[in-house]
């Protein structure tokens, strides 16, 4: 290695004052730690929000008839007016690796009335047994129980129940324009109440068993509007939607549109982008502060060694060599700092991933972008930020070394060696 003398000089210089080297490296490592951990927390918060927002009802992936969105017309069921083999379709969806659950649904605009009060709502027909594997409606139950499959029972939001002045066990008239043009109307019993913290759900939605809602709407059992799908990693949703589209068209399910949450909840994508964008500001601030600290240290080490540099110059070393030695020292310092940084970062990431910091005692729960958020700081593993931060750290060390290296080449050999 022809350049090795300069590298060796740089490396050895670090050992000259090992306490100072350790302190500087620790400073850089803590900078690395804070950037990576804060990013991990922010990623965790965003992923949690996406999971919460999509997990309450929508799922992370949805399958519809191609024309169903955005109008959500009653007639646009999967497979057209003939409907489809719903159990077979669900089976095909669940055969896809990574799918944790799939649930069929029908939607319709309708009225629920307690007699004196009538409210326009979104009627949602679900398979209560399957719904639990996709959404957290069951977890949002605050009173009563889930509707019994096939029974004319409704699960309604607590706010809607307050407006209608009904309690579990109470009776509601449900009216909805049916697919055959008639006015579907029937009596439903309130089985339970839920509270999600999301206004549209709590005040504007009534959930009933799939079969009962289909009967009200004059829809055959094979006619559903949506298959809602839950997957593990929300960021895998776009790829999952693509492979499900291929799988379902290969399975002969007819024309079907599979969309990830990034398509039907674009505001969540915007929020995630905003969050990761703001992380770069943190990176900038942390390492800008570090530049000056490291520059100060290197300036002192080069000043202390000015006689050495003078001797080297007097013996015929080129200024380029001196610069290389100082930069080599900086790179070596950077590498040590990265190793130290990774060593203190990884255990904390693992720890806070598995045992997240719970701030709910301080703040309580809150909603953000229509999603209920628990203030639990579960850190994710920000893999790309680990590398970006390492690069930024190395760049910081190099930047900080530029001026000291320049100063080292400007040492006047004769005067310095003479002690003048």
């Amino acid at each position: 290695m022809p350049a090795s003398p300069w590298w060796r000089i740089g490396w050895r210089n670090l050992g000259r004052n090992s306490r100072r080297t350790v302190l500087t490296a620790t400073g850089l490592a803590v900078g690395y730690w804070s950037v990576v951990v804060i990013t991990g927390m922010a990623d965790g918060l965003v992923a949690d929000m996406v999971r919460t927002a999509t997990g309450i009802l929508s799922g992370q992936v949805q399958a519809h008839a191609p024309e169903y969105l955005p109008d959500r017309t009653l007639y646009e069921t999967i497979g057209g007016a003939e409907g489809t083999d719903v159990p077979a379709l669900l089976h095909a969806v669940e055969a896809e690796p990574g799918v944790l659950g799939a649930a069929p649904r029908v939607y319709a605009g309708g009225l629920v009335s307690s007699g004196a009060t009538t409210v326009g709502v979104l009627l949602l027909g679900v398979d209560p047994a399957r719904e639990d594997s996709v959404s957290r409606l069951a977890a949002a139950l605050v009173e009563g129980r889930l509707p019994t499959p096939g029974a004319r029972e409704l699960l309604i939001g607590r706010e809607l129940a307050r407006q209608l002045d009904v309690a579990p066990g109470g009776e509601l008239v449900v009216v909805a324009p049916a697919a055959d043009g008639s006015l579907g109307n029937d009596l439903f019993r309130v089985s339970g109440l839920y509270a999600t913290g999301i206004a549209e759900l709590d005040a504007g939605t009534a959930v009933g068993p799939l079969a009962a809602i289909q009967e009200l709407l004059a829809l055959a059992p094979g006619r559903v509007h949506e298959i809602a799908i839950r997957i593990g990693d929300p960021w895998a949703a776009p790829g999952m939607a693509d492979s499900l589209t291929r799988r379902l068209s290969a399975a002969g399910a007819g024309p079907i549109a599979v969309r990830p949450w990034t398509t039907f909840r674009p505001e969540l994508v915007d929020y995630a982008n905003l969050s990761s964008g703001s992380m770069w500001i943190v990176v900038l601030i942390v390492f800008a502060m570090a530049v000056f600290g490291v520059a100060n240290t290197l300036l002192m080490t080069t000043f202390e060694r000015r006689r050495e540099f003078a001797l080297l110059l007097a013996l015929g070393a080129t200024p380029g060599g001196i610069v290389r030695a100082v930069l080599a020292e900086a790179v070596a310092l950077g590498v040590i700092s990265i190793l130290l940084g990774v060593a203190i970062t990884v255990p904390v990431l693992v720890w806070w991933h598995h045992d997240p910091i719970d701030l709910s005692r301080l703040f309580g729960d809150f909603t953000m972008a229509g999603a209920l958020v628990r203030p639990v700081l579960r850190t994710d593993y920000p893999l790309s930020m680990c590398f970006y931060a390492a690069g930024a750290l190395l760049l910081t060390a190099l930047l900080a070394a530029l001026y000291p290296a320049y100063r080292a080449t400007r040492v006047p050999p004769a005067d310095t060696l003479a002690g003048r």
Partner: protein, 249 residues
């Protein structure tokens, strides 16, 4: 040619000044024509949509602008379903579940029984001339028939769902021929065409009304008056929740 042009121009310029009172009277006349002080009628309503087509027979009673009762008499699946308007309140009776429900005013703009009419159309809150300023948009011959074309603009504080209504009325017998309803952005929302002018209950009326929504030109609702009586003996007590529930007159 020059004389004709002058004549038309003259009519256009003079009309807004001279005909304001008359315009109000004509529009009010057309508005009240199918209602009288009280009325009872039998109607067949045919609804055609992209997905289904059905026909319903209705019986309808009205008293002034305050009270109206509409009951479905056929087909048997829906027979007995009824809507009552009393003052500003609207109630629906659903025989299948034997329940009466009150509709909130926010649902007045919703389709009535799946048709292209809204709840508001069937149980109008007030007379048109109370809610709209009326101007003559055109006066003269259309296809050889002398007509007026009125432009109805909502008064600033009127609680109406339309941004503008245009209505054509024949001069010779004051029969409406069409009405165009524009939404608040000024876009045509639906067109009602009147036809089959006949004597019913001693009055000349358009016996058939056809509604076509602009965004779905293949769909329509056709209302056909089979018979109609005016100024019959009806009292406000007839328009009760008890009457709403009872299938018989």
């Amino acid at each position: 040619m020059r004389a004709l042009l002058a004549c038309v121009l003259g009519a256009l310029l003079a009309a807004p000044l001279a005909a304001q009172r008359t315009a109000r009277e004509i529009v009010d006349h057309v508005d009240r024509m199918l209602r009288g002080s009280s009325s009872r009628g039998e109607i067949t309503m045919e609804v055609v949509t992209a997905h289904w087509q059905r026909s319903m027979d209705l019986a309808i009673w009205s008293l002034g602008t305050e009270y109206a009762l509409i009951r479905i008499t056929a087909p048997s699946k829906d027979a007995g379903t009824a809507t009552l308007k009393a003052g500003t309140e609207i109630w629906n009776y659903l025989p299948r579940v034997d329940r009466v429900i009150k509709l909130p005013s926010s649902l007045m703009g919703q389709a009535w029984m799946g048709s292209h009419f809204t709840n508001d159309d069937l149980v109008k809150e007030s007379r048109i001339i109370e809610d709209y300023d009326i101007a003559i948009g055109y006066e003269g011959a259309r296809d050889g028939v002398a007509v007026w074309e009125f432009v109805l603009t909502p008064k600033p504080d009127a609680a109406v769902i339309w941004g503008r209504i245009e209505e054509q009325v024949r001069r010779e017998d004051m029969m409406p021929t069409w009405a165009k309803y524009y939404d608040e952005r000024g876009e045509l929302s639906r067109t009602i065409t009147f036809s089959e002018f006949r004597r019913l209950g001693g009055r000349l009326v358009p016996a058939v009304m056809t509604v076509v929504p602009t965004d779905k030109p293949d769909e329509r609702t056709v209302i056909r008056y089979r018979n109609l009586e005016f100024d019959i003996k009806l009292t406000p007590s007839f328009f009760s929740l008890r009457q709403l529930r009872s299938g018989a007159e």
